[in-house]
């Protein structure tokens, strides 16, 4: 099976067709996707701003991350699921859409940035937990993350305007 025929099979599948042809399913799934995306960005922004040195509602960075990341992850999971459903409804056109491809790349970069942070600076959080400002590597991770997520929002909105 080629990549193109795989995408077409998603498009033709009962799930993909059902979503595409329903005047109710697509709006509900898309709105949920937007709600989850705003929750991801809203909660990540609080953590990223703290990593950049802006105080949150508590002093310690570690407890803030423990407070908020479960919500970020839950919202991200739902955003990914709704995103996958939306994808199946129009797969070939999304893959051919520049903002969509760029958005996927930006998501990947955000994930890599987060992984690097969690495997390095986060491992030493005991040393900088209450430091304001935090070490430069931490500030960079936060700024990179926030910038990528803002770009992801813009790209996401642009998909709707440019999809074929």
């Amino acid at each position: 099976m080629t990549w193109a025929s795989f995408l077409q099979s998603l498009y033709d599948s009962p799930v993909g067709s059902g979503i595409r042809e329903s005047s109710v399913l697509f709006p509900w799934i898309e709105s949920t996707h937007v709600l989850m995306a705003t929750t991801v960005v809203g909660t990540i922004a609080i953590v990223d701003l703290r990593l950049m040195g802006y105080a949150s509602h508590r002093k310690g960075a570690r407890q803030l991350i423990l407070d908020l990341l479960p919500f970020t992850w839950a919202a991200f999971a739902l955003a990914a699921i709704t995103g996958a459903l939306l994808f199946t409804s129009n797969a070939p056109n999304y893959v051919a859409n520049a903002p969509y491809v760029s958005k996927m790349i930006a998501l990947l970069l955000a994930g890599i940035n987060m992984a690097i942070f969690h495997l390095t600076a986060y491992r030493q959080i005991g040393q900088w937990n209450e430091a304001l400002p935090p070490p430069w590597g931490v500030r960079l991770a936060g700024a990179t993350s926030l910038t990528l997520w803002i770009v992801i929002v813009f790209l996401g909105r642009l998909i709707g305007f440019t999809i074929g």
Partner: protein, 162 residues
């Protein structure tokens, strides 16, 4: 003058045409609108969950409210500004749209709840002098979250109800 006539008149103004026909204005304004929504969602989530006793219970409610209320008001300002640009640019999309007006009513409700049930809590004596009102903070926190979710669904649904 009917709402359709008002919408038509607004649509034909220079400012409306400028917004609509300048490349990138509508998508950029919408993206800024969505980012401001994210700020409200993040702020409301932390504040409402704290008031509901679910999150950050080692910090006082006052500390949490005080931290996020300014962000919510700034975000509201951005939402009103970007929303006005979008409404002026595409009045046909919103003025005669019942989903849009439902959203506006819900936004008023959500911010009304914020004003009535958050600001009083910032006063140190309030919990004691207005015990019954203060006791409503927890259930209204949950109501508030549900209202914000409804606002977001209405917001996206505007496009589907034109």
């Amino acid at each position: 003058m009917s709402i359709y006539e008002i919408s038509s008149v607004l649509y034909s103004t220079a400012i409306s045409t400028r917004i609509r026909e300048t490349a990138g204005v509508i998508p950029t304004t919408q993206s800024l609108h969505i980012l401001a929504i994210a700020v409200v969602v993040g702020s409301a989530l932390v504040t409402d969950l704290r008031l509901a006793g679910v999150l950050a219970t080692d910090e006082s409610p006052q500390t949490v409210i005080r931290r996020y209320l300014p962000w919510m008001w700034t975000a509201l300002g951005v939402l009103l500004a970007t929303g006005t640009i979008l409404a002026v640019g595409e009045p046909n999309r919103v003025l005669a749209n019942p989903v849009f007006w439902s959203k506006m009513a819900l936004v008023l409700l959500a911010f009304g709840l914020t004003l009535l049930f958050r600001y009083p809590l910032l006063h140190p004596e309030f919990g004691r002098t207005h015990a019954r009102w203060a006791a409503l903070a927890k259930p209204t926190a949950w109501v508030s979250l549900v209202v914000w979710i409804a606002v977001i669904y209405c917001g996206r649904w505007i496009a589907y109800a034109i």
